[in-house]
């Protein structure tokens, strides 16, 4: 069976709207929370997919940006809820509970850190790149654990979700709407990016950096820009994730989380627009359903992942479209 990729996109988005609406009618608020979780994880993975899918760079440290986004939210909201000031050299602020500002800060800081990490780690390639990004992830993880001012390993609790003008973010469906709107916006931009000059050039560096260079492209600069964009998107997702849980902790920096983001993309389909979204939905469903069936559900999750790698190359989107996917 071959399905048009646009049809998949439309079906997934419709599904993401229909399910929470159904849950709202059936008065099942927890289903909305679950879908929100899937949407946010999808957003993080869409960010990773820029470098991993289009750029062919396997970053095993994207939890760094997810965590930075989370802590940007946590720190700003913490100072706002305790009425303390945050001193940053010359700058001092009382923090904020205003979502758009938090998002902006999360994205800018993530992008900046991505720039620094990218400058250092893009000098390497292949397995070395995987490992150096992992190393940066571990550095941030251990730093966060010993950062006593913001809770260390205990993390930071934000008792009330941050504000968005005109909405009550504590109502699950309204917070979900914010997340879904952001995901759709990013997906739209992502689709534009894939067909833009930058996207095509980045794609070319993945297929052959040498050829790209001979036609006058600068692979290093393209990859760095992709890494920065990717970090910013994942950072935004981190801020939303922290708001969903009203809590941040160093586990947002853990290597398992970096691994999970990769898993989401592979389940869905590497380099596909909707790959991360489908992957996230499937993963959250598996987690929820299997976790309910048995205490040892990790075994079954492992077997399912194994089957996907061995028998469904190209992920679910690849399976549906009948194309294994030209990528990676």
């Amino acid at each position: 069976m071959r399905v048009n990729e646009h049809a998949i996109t439309a079906a997934v988005i419709l599904g993401l709207i229909a399910l929470p609406v159904w849950a709202l009618i059936m008065d099942e608020p927890f289903t909305i929370t679950l879908v929100t979780r899937a949407v946010i994880l999808a957003l993080a993975a869409v960010g990773l997919n820029i470098v991993l899918g289009i750029g062919g760079l396997v970053s095993f440290g994207h939890a760094v940006f997810f965590g930075i986004g989370g802590y940007a939210m946590g720190i700003l909201a913490y100072h706002a809820q305790t009425y303390t000031t945050l001193e940053l050299g010359m700058l001092s602020t009382g923090g904020t509970k205003f979502m758009p500002v938090i998002w902006l800060v999360a994205m800018v800081v993530s992008a900046f850190v991505a720039g620094c990490i990218g400058l250092l780690s893009l000098r390497t390639s292949g397995v070395y790149f995987i490992m150096i990004t992992l190393a940066f992830g571990q550095m941030f993880y251990y730093f966060a654990i010993s950062w006593a001012q913001y809770g260390g390993e205990d993390g930071l609790s934000i008792y009330i979700r941050n504000d968005f003008p005109g909405l009550n973010t504590l109502v699950p469906i309204q917070f979900f709407a914010i997340c879904l709107a952001l995901l759709c916006l990013v997906l739209f931009l992502m689709a534009r990016l894939q067909s833009s000059v930058f996207g095509l050039a980045l794609n070319a560096t993945r297929q052959s950096a040498i050829r790209a260079e001979t036609v006058g492209l600068n692979p290093m600069r393209l990859r760095l820009l992709a890494f920065v964009l990717s970090g910013a998107v994942t950072g935004l997702a981190g801020a939303l994730f922290a708001d969903l849980n009203r809590f941040v902790s160093p586990t947002m920096f853990s290597w398992q989380l970096s691994g999970e983001l990769i898993v989401l993309i592979i389940i869905g389909g590497v380099g596909r627009l909707m790959g991360p979204v489908i992957g996230a939905c499937v993963f959250v469903t598996l987690e929820h359903v299997l976790g309910g069936l048995t205490e040892f559900w990790h075994i079954y999750l492992g077997v399912i992942l194994l089957c996907i790698v061995l028998f469904a190359r190209g992920g679910i989107v690849g399976l549906l479209t009948g194309k294994e996917g030209a990528h990676v």
Binding site: G152, E153, D154, G155, Y159, N245, M252, E295
Partner: protein, 376 residues
């Protein structure tokens, strides 16, 4: 989802059962490395529920995998979709901090069977939050008091570099009156303590205090015993509970540790608990199991007096703590944390099994350092 439906057909037939069913949500760690603790709490809790003979208490049990974000998600599920009245079960302080403040603000009662972070005992205390185990500092303070009693003058103290570890050393120093031969923060999850043991050997200390929960403690004790350093060691019960003592073996023999519970505390409730737990699950209960058991009995005692839907009456019933604890006397302080006696225990061997016996009292009717900050 594993639902232990305690309500049986008998409840449906029983026309006199006017009281509405009570739903309890338990979020605890049942998979991964720290699963042993969660399983003990669950088993202790369920044993007490079964023994209470009440068939109108439904307990929904979920596994948090020791991940804060999963715990938060489960707590949302418990409150939004299961609509539980009471929550319990969390083992780790960081998970408790993620779940408890939000839960109690949504008018759910939370009874902690383990984990008592200082933030929830002082300024962050809440009328719906009850801790049935201890405030995190308690066992460490007791160890400091014991060190004074044993006339230690120069302690080497050690804990992992994370908030509970920092609290542990603060708690020890709060009571301990002697000098410090050294103060070391190790890496969380560290497995090799050769470097620290060398420092201990060189420090000239007359005693070592360490807080290394779970696998970290097992590693440290085995390596310490093998190093030939013979400075006496004191620790909190977490590194000497029934679950891990067998894995430490001889290396733990004779070590003094502090605990609010032990299987030889002499009262009928405790004797019955130890016996029935062993009969039901085929192993000796641990301190965590006793905490789970006490938590469930506190809950049952409050349910006898009031229904959770009448929050004020139910809260008063909880506060009265009118139940038979495995620890003997049990009372809540003003911040809903226990005021209790903490014992010094020694690791002994009974046949093939390593276990503890009480050798003295470290702190009598002890509250905690944060109670004064709590404005309820």
């Amino acid at each position: 989802m594993k639902t232990f439906l305690m309500a049986t057909a008998a409840a449906a037939l029983c026309a006199t059962s006017a009281m509405a069913d009570v739903k309890v949500g338990m979020i605890t760690t049942l998979s991964g490395g720290g699963a042993g603790l969660g399983i003990d709490v669950r088993d202790g809790f369920m044993l007490a529920i079964a023994q209470s003979g009440r068939d109108d208490i439904e307990v929904v049990i979920e596994d948090d995998q020791r991940k804060p974000d999963i715990a938060v998600q489960l707590s949302d599920k418990m409150i939004q979709s299961e609509r539980v009245d009471i929550m319990t079960g969390i083992i780790w302080s960081n998970l408790a901090m993620a779940v408890v403040p939000a839960a109690v603000n949504q008018n759910v009662f939370y009874l902690s069977p383990n984990a008592g972070p200082s933030a929830l005992a002082g300024r962050g205390c809440h009328q719906n939050y009850f801790n049935v185990a201890w405030q995190n500092d308690n066992l460490h303070e007791a160890a400091g008091a014991y060190a004074n009693e044993a006339a230690y003058k120069n302690s080497f103290i050690m804990a992992p570099n994370y908030p509970a570890g920092q609290d542990a050393l603060t708690g020890y120093k709060r009571m301990y009156g002697g000098a410090l031969a050294g103060e070391v923060f190790t890496k969380l999850g560290q497995t090799d303590y050769a470097a620290e043991i060398a420092q201990i050997r060189a420090s000239g200390a007359d005693s070592v205090y360490f807080f290394l929960p779970g696998g970290m403690g097992i590693s440290f004790l085995k390596q310490y015993a093998d190093s030939g350093v013979d400075i006496p060691v004191v620790g909190p019960a977490f590194s000497f509970d029934q679950g891990i003592l067998q894995a430490v073996g001889d290396a733990a023999m004779g070590v003094i540790n502090t605990s609010q519970w032990n299987k030889d505390i002499d009262n009928p409730t405790n004797a019955a608990f130890v016996e029935t737990f062993q009969a039901e699950y085929g192993r000796l209960p641990s301190l965590y199991a006793s905490q789970g058991f006490d938590t469930a009995n506190l809950l049952v005692s409050a349910l006898e007096k009031a229904d959770p839907s009448d929050a004020d009456a139910f809260r008063d019933a909880l506060r009265a703590a009118d139940f038979d604890s495995t620890r003997g006397d049990f009372a809540f302080g003003p911040n809903h944390h226990p005021v209790q006696t903490i014992y010094a225990r020694e690791v002994i061997q009974e046949g093939d099994v390593f276990t503890n016996k009480i050798v003295g009292v470290a702190l009598e009717n002890h509250s905690d350092a944060y109670a004064a900050d709590c404005k309820m």
